[in-house]
């Protein structure tokens, strides 16, 4: 795209880069961060089928709200915050969901909580029981957002606890506690099917 277009929009929206900073090429940044944001969306949204829409919406909001970006954190952290926020709101958007249901009214749609084709492929190592994984999915989904999101975010490539804390805007200690309690709850729930129990 044309760089002067970026500049004019940025100026119109009141965002001025600091002296010496290159203006942000949002298209480029969006392309670069999209795979990362997609992972964050998968961690944050309860319905995996919404992840792509969530990223899309977050990027549009990020673009429109770029003047709010103060440069006090990396752009990818700022964008990831928006992804999390959009994910949570998306989940609550029953109207939107209901609309889809009507539109897909004559089609069968399977639930997104694992009872569908997501689990069709056997895991390559063949070590994990399908039933166990379905149970993991149900257990993770049963966790409240504040535990589920940091726990899943830990699985995002290269995402560390300090960065999760910055994205969620909560202290690192709180992130650790929430992840720990999420793990603990899952452990309790999954105990009957864990291999470690069988070894006892």
């Amino acid at each position: 795209m044309n760089p002067s277009a970026t500049e004019s929009v940025l100026n119109k929206s009141g965002w001025a880069p600091r002296a010496g900073d290159a203006p942000i090429d949002f298209d480029l940044a969006a392309r670069e961060h999209r795979p990362f944001l997609m992972q964050v969306a998968v961690a944050a949204t309860r319905n995996v089928d919404d992840a792509e829409d969530v990223v899309q919406e977050a990027l549009v909001r990020g673009y429109k709200g770029l003047r709010h970006f103060r440069g006090d954190c990396p752009l990818r952290v700022w964008l990831a915050r928006i992804v999390v926020r959009v994910s949570i709101n998306h989940h609550r958007s029953f109207v939107r969901r209901a609309k889809r249901w009507v539109l897909f009214g004559d089609l069968e749609r399977e639930d997104s909580d694992g009872r569908r084709a997501a689990f069709d492929a056997a895991d390559p190592a063949g070590k994990v029981e399908l039933e166990t994984l379905l149970d993991v999915g149900r257990g993770v989904d049963a966790l409240p957002d504040e535990f589920r999101i940091p726990l899943l975010m830990l699985a995002v490539d290269g995402l560390t606890i300090p960065e999760i804390a910055r994205i969620l805007e909560i202290p690192e200690g709180t992130v650790k506690s929430r992840i720990f309690y999420g793990r603990k709850r899952l452990k309790k729930r999954l105990m009957p099917s864990l291999a470690v129990r069988a070894e006892r």
Partner: protein
């Protein structure tokens, strides 16, 4: 002589979040090599982590699929023998809000379309101070309790302290656990304790502070569970009241409080 199982238990959170000192980690590993119970506890955590990671990979794979398998013409759509083509027509009719199999490629186009609009929608402004994990405003009351004198309290009345909130059900062990922790930690100035009886439960004469719920979700705390709430009113930790998790969670809350107010509030 290695450390006790209780010592290990109190450091599990730090261990699994990789924030023990090397010396402590060494101690813990030494204990675990001699203690089957702790070893299997650690192995269970490792297994849960691996399962969560696998669950996440699968979700990611299914989220990234260009063609969504969840929309299938299992039943004929109106006419007999409706084909996959009918599904794609469905997609096309849904407009920009619909699942778009080529969303990734179409992104720049969507952005250009946004760009063409005259002024940013004020609704889309992003208030960055907002905590993304706090629920958006809804009619649901998260925390409202009433004391014996009839005064109603909200979370603000507990701000500045770490609140140990227990929702006590009919289980005597749960009440006993809460009472034991209250007795043990009652001198800690950063903590406040509050037990709320679950619906229909009569605590009788308890030896810890109690108040009645006033149609709130009690920070989404289920009967028989506790929630540790930070001085800012956010959920710090949760757990079950009757399985010994409470002291470790209170310790974690205390650490949080000391982080916040190194020299007292």
């Amino acid at each position: 002589m290695t450390k006790s199982c209780q010592w290990v238990e109190s450091r599990l959170e730090a261990y699994v979040s990789d924030s023990l000192t090397p010396a402590e980690r060494g101690e813990l590993d030494r204990h675990a090599s001699d203690c089957a119970a702790c070893r299997s506890e650690l192995a269970a955590f490792a297994e849960v982590d691996a399962l969560v990671a696998e669950h996440f990979r699968r979700r990611l794979r299914s989220a990234s699929r260009p063609v969504r398998p969840m929309v299938r013409p299992l039943r004929p759509v109106g006419v007999a023998g409706a084909s996959l083509a009918a599904v794609w027509i469905g997609f096309a009719a849904l407009g920009p809000d619909a699942v778009d199999p080529d969303a990734a490629d179409k992104f720049p186009a969507a952005l250009e379309a946004e760009r063409a609009k005259p002024d940013p929608d004020p609704e889309l402004a992003i208030p960055l101070a907002e905590d993304p994990l706090q629920p958006q405003p809804t009619p649901v009351v998260r925390f409202r309790v009433q004391d014996a004198a009839g005064y109603v309290h909200t979370l603000e009345d507990f701000s500045g302290s770490v609140l140990v909130l227990g929702v006590v059900d009919g289980n005597a062990a749960a009440a006993a656990d809460f009472e034991a922790s209250y007795a043990r930690y009652t001198s800690e100035s950063g903590l406040r304790f509050l037990a709320v009886p679950a619906d229909g439960v009569d605590l009788g004469a308890s030896r810890f502070p109690t108040m009645a719920n006033r149609a709130s979700t009690l920070m989404e705390t289920d009967p028989g569970e506790f929630t540790i709430i930070s001085p800012e009113g956010e959920v710090h930790a949760r757990g079950s009241l009757d399985n010994g998790e409470l002291p470790a969670a209170i310790d974690s809350g205390l650490r949080l409080w000391r982080d916040r107010f190194p020299s007292g509030p």
